[in-house]
Amino acid sequence: MALIKNIILILSLGSAALFTFSANAEIFAYRFSKSNCALKGKKAAGTWKIINRRLPKGLSVFGHPSKARDDVILFKLSKKSTLLFATMASCLKKTKTNNTANDEEAIEEEITNFSDEEEEDDLESESEQSSSSNKKWSLWLGGASWQEEVLFSDGVSTTAPGLANIYGPSLGVSYLRASKQFKYGLSVAAFFGKAFIASSNTIFTAARNLNTLGLVSSIDVFWSLSSQSMIGLSVPIIYRKGKWQASTSSTSISPASAMKYGISIESRLFYGAFTFAPKIGLINPKNLFGHLQIGYSF
């Protein structure tokens, strides 16, 4: 214990003393794509091992031998040296594909011209391409939960407000139509759930696991962010029906059916034909509504 503390102490004091003697070291963070000789995108120049072996004398590459690592940062390199590196990165590819060579000038032009705006353009382009081909039907499997205000009654004169936690699986279908950057959708899901209900007055016994059926639907407007993601606003419309009865036969819980609507935020992430779609919002009057779904598009 004391030993560890002392080691830390010595190391930190030593480094503190050297802290003031900082030297200049330039860092260039150019990124190249090995898979794309045009040097667009922000992917790698190859693994550390390959790069290191092929680098001319005097150049150094920061990195570590992690196979998971794609990118490299070039240290202490002038722009000219970086371009040399880029040339080599391209050559690695060309060796395999026999493409015609890009000379240094072309690479320099690519680097100079490359910007985030270009990347954004690529994103938008991807998105539009995706949008233009999107008229999708999807099947959904998920789970929904919301809370409702209810009223307990003994059938004579005593009533008390209560709350119902409703939760359960859903199975549905949706239709999505694209228009440039935006997408419009409609979804309907059958809901097979349970309710857990209790009143604010202990006269009435809480009721658990009461069968509840319903339809959970929504009208959606999405903003397409890329070919694999979008975010949007939804108007959830929920109809549920449950003949809820407390354990004492004289107690009734109303309403037996209800229509709820509200506003929610939804994002969708696409992975091949599959979609992950979390949705959260408020339904009237101010109750939390959540719906998590996994979809399959066809």
Binding site: L9, S12, A16, S145, S267
Partner: protein, 382 residues
């Protein structure tokens, strides 16, 4: 001696952040951006440059990515010796519970304020020494000798071979998805919270399509009561399922005179195009107390987080959690909520999370109104 120690603490520290969702940018392994290959802790130069040129917006300093990458260091464009990498990190949070009930005041807390230092030596940074010291608010339980200071990380690591790196010292446990959200169920129910680091030996082994880790630990040696130190072992593996998709599993067993902990989890990280991601951890925590009067915790949990990139630096986050905190038949909790994460510039992060929690209490005769909580975070780092 005390003065020397305090001076030294001023120069050591770490950045308490880890963003496993950056698999969406093509970085499946934490080792790309962090000195600690399992994530969390100080950023490498590459991680800093990545934050400046890919993750964060450039609303304040409108310069080219090349310039921003060049200014990503601790002293901006002034370069330090390559072996020296200091850091400073601050994260504060304003939170307000029970938004739907009037009269409950909000509170601002200093979640984390730390200073760190990494020393890297030998060719290819084979040898790394990292340490941190953090300010601990007075309200937090402290095991440190100096009441308001704590070190969450100090270790020496060495690259034994191209595929193996060893660590000795105090680190987070090797287990599960190492998220910066230390209040999520995958960290609270497993007792792997903000200040639950341990001393031990860690091995990181990378493979062509994944990585594995093992951790032998002796508990937090700063814990005053030796009997409370959780000693044990853990292991974690993650494997590529496809491009930007990793499926993993974790196990942990530890014991002390107070309790025995057994954890298991399966986890998934998926990256979507350009910054959108999905993280999921499905786990089970079994914590048996030595005192027979204390009930055994048997907690299944699910943690989900999706991140949708709206534009560079701005992300929409969805958080979903399900857990049973006591046992399988005990109270069940569902927490859902949206959030926004904004990096207007490298070194600055704002985050706003709204979450609703719903309780299912079997023994209770009352259904609680959903609890709404608002958390705003401010994160600054050098």
């Amino acid at each position: 001696m005390i003065i020397l120690f305090l001076i030294s603490l001023f120069f050591i520290g770490k950045e308490a952040k880890a963003y496993p969702q950056y698999i969406s940018y093509g970085y499946a392994s934490c080792s790309v951006c962090h000195f600690n290959y399992f994530g969390n802790g100080p950023l490498t130069d590459y991680g800093r440059a990545l934050a400046a040129t890919v993750v964060a917006d450039k609303m304040i300093i409108r310069k080219s990515d090349e310039v921003l990458g060049n200014q990503a260091g601790f002293l901006f464009s002034k370069k330090l010796p390559r072996w020296l990498r200091p850091s400073i990190d601050y994260r504060g949070a304003y939170f307000k519970r029970d938004l739907n009930q009037a009269g409950i005041p909000g509170k601002y807390i200093h979640m984390d304020a730390n200073m760190g230092l990494v020393l890297q030596f030998l060719k290819r940074n084979k040898l790394v020494v990292a340490a941190s010291v953090s300010y601990l608010p007075s309200s937090s339980p402290s095991t440190a000798k100096f009441k308001n200071l704590i070190s969450r990380e100090h270790y020496i690591s060495y690259q034994v071979s191209k595929s193996t790196r060893l660590y000795a010292g105090m680190t987070d446990h090797v287990y599960g998805i190492r998220t910066e959200d230390h209040t999520v169920v995958s960290r609270t129910l497993t007792r792997l919270r903000q200040n639950d680091q341990t001393h031990g030996l860690v091995m990181h082994y990378k493979m062509p399509k994944g990585e594995v880790g093992a951790h032998l630990f002796a508990g937090n040696l700063y814990e005053k009561t030796a009997g409370k130190r959780q000693k044990g072992a853990s292991a974690m593996g993650e494997f590529d399922l496809g491009e930007n998709t990793r499926l993993g599993a974790s196990l942990l067993y530890s014991t002390s005179k107070v309790s025995t902990r057994t954890l298991g989890a399966a986890h998934l990280r998926m990256g979507f195009s350009k910054g959108s991601s999905l993280l999921a951890e499905l786990g089970y925590a079994h914590i048996k107390a030595s005192d027979p009067a204390t009930p055994t915790q048997q907690s299944p949990y699910i943690w989900l987080q999706s991140m949708t990139r709206i534009r560079r630096g701005l992300n929409f986050i969805f958080n979903g959690q399900f857990s049973s905190a006591e046992n399988l038949s005990g109270t069940k909790t569902i927490t859902l909520g949206p959030g926004l994460q904004w990096f207007p510039q490298q070194r600055i992060e704002f985050r706003l999370d709204l979450s609703g929690t719903r309780y299912f209490i079997p023994a209770n005769t009352v259904v609680n109104k959903d609890t709404l909580t608002l958390v705003g975070q401010f994160h600054l780092w050098l």
